[in-house]
Symmetry: C2
Subunit: 352 residues, 2 copies
């Protein structure tokens, strides 16, 4: 511990110490030494020295030479949300089990930021990119393609690369049906008592809205065309949508289809400061699963997207030889109110 910062040992240092050439040292340390017919004893010497001097490979140098970095990227819209954070958690497990290094970044649903972020990751020669919930997946594709970067869309599909998404139509159909069936035959839900809040003009929202309409029509006969209040993926805009609705009608609907947990937070904001009784008769369906959301003081039926299956499928696809872009649907699961499901954290070692 002489110097404050003793420079890290390199293959050149070990080369001098061992009396072998740098190339031999390199081969020994990266495991290709048998192929290069290095003597066992030479290898052992070098490995011993490496250990002794705490050698670690400079991955930037290796990356530069190999033009691959060992990094695998996950681009999320945002971190702060249980759907996406469970995506990150699951992704990390997969990447680590392959001996690579996961890198998670968010791009705020901003197409420009998405492209810039992809550019940056490419500049670090990441090996693969998983694009989750991108606003403009094809824009990101245009950046990845010329760089030869393997990539795949998750959650929101693109036209130019494989996509693995949740079966939004079926999920929304189940959810809508479950909401409607939640009401007894004595006092059934009327079509104008069920509204959808949230979503914008992306593939997932469109599918969900379509299923919402179709299922309402199928089960309730009709579907008034003002049943959808788009409010993007912003709690605050959703809050304002609820306030506007409440303002104009004097009450909330009896039942809500909420497009995502982020929009659900808009409902929470609406609830804050208002009496709990106001919501005691409410029935909510939420397209996303959040364990705490499942235990609110009114029934919340949720849809859990199968993150594990999506990530697994995505890893399968990204390694395959390229074919024409396809979209793969993963079935989501309907979750009854008051359910506390296991998540990716449960596969971690428990320590008390």
């Amino acid at each position: 511990m002489d110097q404050r910062v003793k420079k890290k040992a390199t293959i050149y240092d070990l080369s001098v110490l061992s009396g072998s050439s740098p190339s031999t040292v390199s081969a020994v340390l990266n495991g290709t030494w048998r192929k290069r017919r290095i003597k066992e004893s030479t290898a052992q010497t070098i490995l011993g020295l490496a250990e002794l001097h705490q050698y670690t490979t400079n991955l930037q140098a290796r990356g530069l030479r190999r033009s691959r970095s060992g990094l695998v990227g996950l681009m999320l819209p945002v971190h702060d949300n249980r759907y996406f954070s469970s995506m990150a958690q699951t992704f990390e497990g997969h990447v680590r089990s392959r001996g690579q290094c996961p890198v998670v970044v968010s791009a705020s649903r901003d197409p420009e930021e998405e492209r810039r972020t992809a550019e940056t990751l490419i500049s670090y020669s990441i090996d693969q990119l998983f694009i989750v919930g991108a606003t403009d997946p094809d824009g990101v594709h245009e950046v990845c393609e010329p760089a030869g970067l393997r990539h795949i869309n998750i959650d929101l599909p693109g036209a130019k690369a494989h996509s693995v998404i949740s079966d939004n139509y079926e999920g929304a159909r189940m959810l809508t049906e479950a909401i409607i069936r939640r009401f007894s035959n004595d006092d059934p839900l009327r079509p104008d008592e069920l509204f959808l809040f949230g979503g914008r003009n992306d593939h997932a929202s469109r599918e969900r809205i379509a299923a919402f309409h179709a299922t309402k029509k199928a089960l309730l006969g009709t579907d008034p065309d003002d049943g959808v209040q788009s409010s993007g993926y912003s709690p605050d805009i959703t809050l304002r949508a609820f306030e506007a609705f409440y303002q104009s009608r004097g009450k909330l609907p009896r039942a809500l289809f909420i497009n995502s947990s982020i929009n659900m937070e808009g409902l929470l904001r609406f609830m804050a400061g208002r009496p709990a009784e106001m919501f005691s008769e409410l029935v909510v369906g939420c397209y996303d699963y959040d364990p705490f959301g499942s235990f609110l003081p009114f029934p919340v039926i949720m849809v859990r997207q199968n993150v594990e299956a999506m990530i697994t499928k995505a890893f399968e696809l990204i390694d395959e030889p390229p074919t024409a872009p396809q979209t793969f649907l993963i079935a989501p699961e309907l979750i009854q109110p008051r359910s506390a499901l296991k998540g990716p954290l449960d596969s971690l070692k428990d320590i008390a």
Copy 2:
């Protein structure tokens, strides 16, 4: 678009195209060209060509040369949790505003994994490392130090580098007091009706438990020594703790101090399948804030740690010249039940 993968343009390509030397091209593209007295017109030519050929710097090469990468690392225990995911979200904003690239990874609260992860990040020459909630911060320090990597502890303190943590004692004091005061004088809470679940032998838990005991003693006179059920940071262990408690006493306590939102998920698991009425009289304090958790069917008083302030402080410290390690306390905030607070997502551009 001739080739499938047309190689990215390098400074050498631009050098040939522009008739300037690679070093000139490099200087122009990295902005140091005025310092190197490059003619304005030469610079413009090169910049034009760079634009035309979509040049982007190979950051691995730059990183190798400069032995800095422009990457800033955040090491979390886990992603899938609103406290840590809001940490990630906030961190990203700060790093991006400094023109660097955030990299978020998790290390599962495993000391070995924490060190390995730090090693890996160092191999990529990251510029700074923010270590959040590490089980063994000083172990990570031992890895960072010899590499000359600036690093700082957040959430859980270490002895060998600056730490920015939440004021756990004060937070737990406020929370315990708030729980107790929640009960009316007609039917006040007895000392043996308030239990703490969760936590393990880390600094945060110790502080919180100390404050819990002290506050109980101060306000309720005594504090039975079995008032604490350690159950780590695992929903399932916490679930088992609740089951065991319930098994042996036939009921839950009237009031609970829950050490973190992860432990709170253990309570959810206990609730699942049990009648809601069983919990209607319960009062819960949770050391962590989760918007959905705030609206459960019983009062949940929460403590929100000031993530923004912690990250801001950490960025201040990490840039300063090194001094003897200090720990900085950031005041957390008591959050009344049924509060839907703004979070880091709210500073994103809202799009409907």
